[in-house]
């Protein structure tokens, strides 16, 4: 009997991998995503590999500040003031990727704890926590992020905090609904009957089962978060940030957009490609965990 289930698990894993890898677009998404991650890691640990000396700052060139079109020297052209776009984008990916990961994972952790607690304990606590999330859903997330970030002072740190505050309620609701269905399942009943403590059931039995769908959600959200993060920077959330960030980078070329469209388009495409890749990957992962889509 034991052997059979082991084998079942194994074949299940194989089937999951098969499902994922038979989806060519999902695999393509994963490859692009990994490329972004590799770039971010290089910038973090050894930027000289890509010929960058300081990935924390733009390299300005005030001698020739006007945007130049793509050329052999600057494959993606330059943006105001004389920034090499390719290099700037490669640098900026680290910041966008890192902060977005922080936001999504931070939001997911807070949300998961609140969601599981609400669903498992139920009753008044559930009602209270859900009304609490309602408050955050009552303001459009971009506006809320602006307000929270503004109140905390206009900086990257407050932007991250603001977006975590915007995002956790989504995860709280999601894990709550997941927990509600898992709570009714046989193995939780069995654990209860065996006298497991509430905390043990929540973290040993329920949390691991909410994890796969939450991970998929994280993957899908990463794309939106990067977009919102860059958008906030684009509309000028951070004054005079000399930090390589894709939205801010795009805003630098805004005054030249009619004569030098690449200054906005290329940083924008860098975000779009990233969002596209995580969305494709996330869709592929969702197919894996959704038994209905397997057949």
């Amino acid at each position: 009997m034991e052997e059979r289930t082991e084998e079942g698990k194994y074949s299940n894993l194989i089937l999951s991998l098969k499902v994922f890898f038979s989806n060519r677009t999902a695999v393509a998404g994963m490859v692009i995503f990994l490329a972004y991650v590799v770039d971010a890691l290089i910038m973090q640990f050894d930027p000289r590999l890509l010929g960058v000396t300081n990935p924390n700052q733009f390299t300005y060139n005030f001698v020739n500040p006007v945007p130049q079109p793509p050329s052999s020297q600057y494959p993606l052209g330059t943006t105001y003031p004389g920034i090499n776009l390719l290099q700037a984008i490669l640098e900026a990916i680290r910041v966008d990727l890192g902060y977005s990961m922080l936001i999504v994972v931070g939001g997911a952790v807070i949300g998961a704890v609140v969601g599981i607690l609400a669903a498992y304990v139920g009753g008044y606590l559930d009602e209270l926590l859900m009304r609490f999330t309602d408050i955050f859903f009552s303001v459009p997330y971009l506006v809320l992020a602006i307000a929270v970030g503004f109140a905390l002072g206009r900086s990257f740190t407050s932007m991250v905090i603001a977006l975590i505050i915007v995002w956790w309620p989504i995860y709280a609701r999601y894990t709550r609904s997941l927990t509600l269905s898992i709570k009714e399942s046989v193995f939780v009943e069995a654990a209860k009957a065996a006298g497991a403590s509430m905390v043990r059931i929540m973290f040993k039995h329920i949390l691991p089962n909410t994890l796969p769908p939450v991970v998929v959600q994280i993957s899908l959200d990463l794309g939106s978060v990067v977009g919102v993060f860059a958008t906030l920077a684009f509309i000028g959330f951070i004054p005079n940030a000399n930090t390589p960030e894709l939205g801010y980078l795009a805003s630098l070329g805004l005054n030249y957009v009619q004569s030098a469209p690449w200054t906005v388009i290329f940083p924008g495409l860098a975000i779009t490609l990233f969002a596209l890749s995580v969305n494709l990957m996330g869709d592929g992962l969702r197919d894996v965990i959704d038994p209905r889509r397997r057949s």
């Binding site: 009304r131 303001v139 506006v143 602006i146 002072g153 958008t231 509309i235 924008g268 779009t272």
Partner: protein, 354 residues
């Protein structure tokens, strides 16, 4: 019978709103207070006051808002001011003065813009989603999927810039800055200091005054912002609708509809679509939130004088009054819209438990 149940449901839904709205004010209050008293003073001091008069005003405000008392006491005094319509002052390049006046100037424009966008979503997004699912895997479906997936992944400002470059610069068919071409309104009696009267929506005012050339110009200025907004929001709707349509098309009742010989057109557009729309309607809350959030970006990229433009101007000019008022306002608009959509949902889906 059913209508009584429906009324009870409406009433209950409205009652649920009250804690949410109280929470909303609490949230804004916390934000205003997070750095102590100086923000609330900044919010309520008339920016025109200087020197001695300013000092006196600070004293008056400290007393009026009970700023020397514990925070929870302050909340109720602040709430009292908000409820009586006193939202402080805003000081931005596009408008400087009482917040309430700013709202009457900017809100109508935003409402018109959002309604236009919603109309475009309805006219383009819904049919595309249905078509895509019905013609699954066809070249058209694949095109629509790539289109919606890319749009979905694009930050909204990029969509705006792409449209500006395409329609505004290269094809040069549509204007993309402001609400009207300045030369069109120069010297008009009902348009002063960038503000049109009486509704403050240029398009409507121009029609009211019978100035159709200006109205047409204003309409052209409305197209690109609303199209950007629509495209940004549509992407998600097409995806949800396509997925739910595909799921519905597998249902037993669709098979039965075919088994009784209903034409495919009717199977798709009545039997399937009406069911497939339900998840779209449920997700309208997110959609509206996205739409209103998008308003902020779109209005500031297109210099379109609405609440969103005001919000970003307030942000760039460190204007707490503008930020907090627009947060409150956006919140109220979102909550009310969600309420209305919920009620629509209750009418559309007979299964809903009132």
């Amino acid at each position: 019978m059913i209508s009584i149940k429906l009324w009870v449901y409406v009433l209950r839904r409205i009652l649920i709103l009250i804690p949410t709205l109280i929470g909303l004010t609490l949230l804004v209050f916390v934000l205003v207070h997070i750095q102590g008293n100086n923000l609330i003073l900044a919010e309520y001091i008339n920016p025109r006051l200087t020197g001695q008069a300013r000092e006196l005003e600070i004293q008056r405000l400290t007393q009026e808002f009970h700023l020397d008392q514990p925070v929870y006491v302050q909340y109720f005094y602040w709430l009292g001011q908000v409820l009586t319509g006193n939202l402080g002052y805003t000081n931005t390049p596009i408008y400087s003065g009482p917040v309430t006046t700013a709202i009457t100037l900017f809100l109508p424009n935003t409402v018109v813009l959002s309604l236009f966008a919603a109309l475009l979503i309805w006219l383009i997004g819904i049919p595309l989603g249905v078509f895509s699912a019905v013609n699954r895997d066809s070249p058209a479906d694949q095109g629509i999927r790539v289109f919606s997936f890319t749009l979905y992944s694009m930050p909204i400002y990029l969509i705006a810039i792409a449209l500006i470059l395409l329609l505004g610069v290269y094809l040069n068919v549509l204007p993309f800055s402001g609400e009207v071409s300045p030369q069109m309104v120069a010297g008009l009696s009902w348009f002063r200091d960038g503000i049109s009267y009486p509704t403050h929506v240029l398009l409507i005012d121009a029609i009211l005054h019978g100035d159709y050339a200006v109205a047409w110009n204003a309409f052209l200025h409305l197209i690109m912002p609303s199209l950007t907004l629509a495209l940004a929001v549509m992407a998600g709707i097409i995806r949800i609708l396509r997925a739910s349509m595909l799921e519905v098309l597998e249902q037993d009742y669709i098979r039965l509809a075919r088994a009784k010989g209903v034409p495919e057109r009717v199977v798709n557009n009545l039997h399937a679509r009406r069911n497939a729309m339900l998840p779209v309607v449920t997700s309208f809350g997110y959609t509206v939130a996205g739409l209103l959030g998008g308003v902020v970006v779109v209005e500031s990229v297109f210099d379109f004088p609405g609440i969103g433009y005001w919000t970003t101007q307030a942000l760039l000019n460190n204007d707490i009054g503008g930020i907090m008022a627009s947060t409150l306002l956006f919140g109220i608009v979102l909550v009310l819209t969600t309420l209305i959509l919920d009620l629509v949902y209750a009418v559309v889906d007979p299964r809903i438990r009132y």
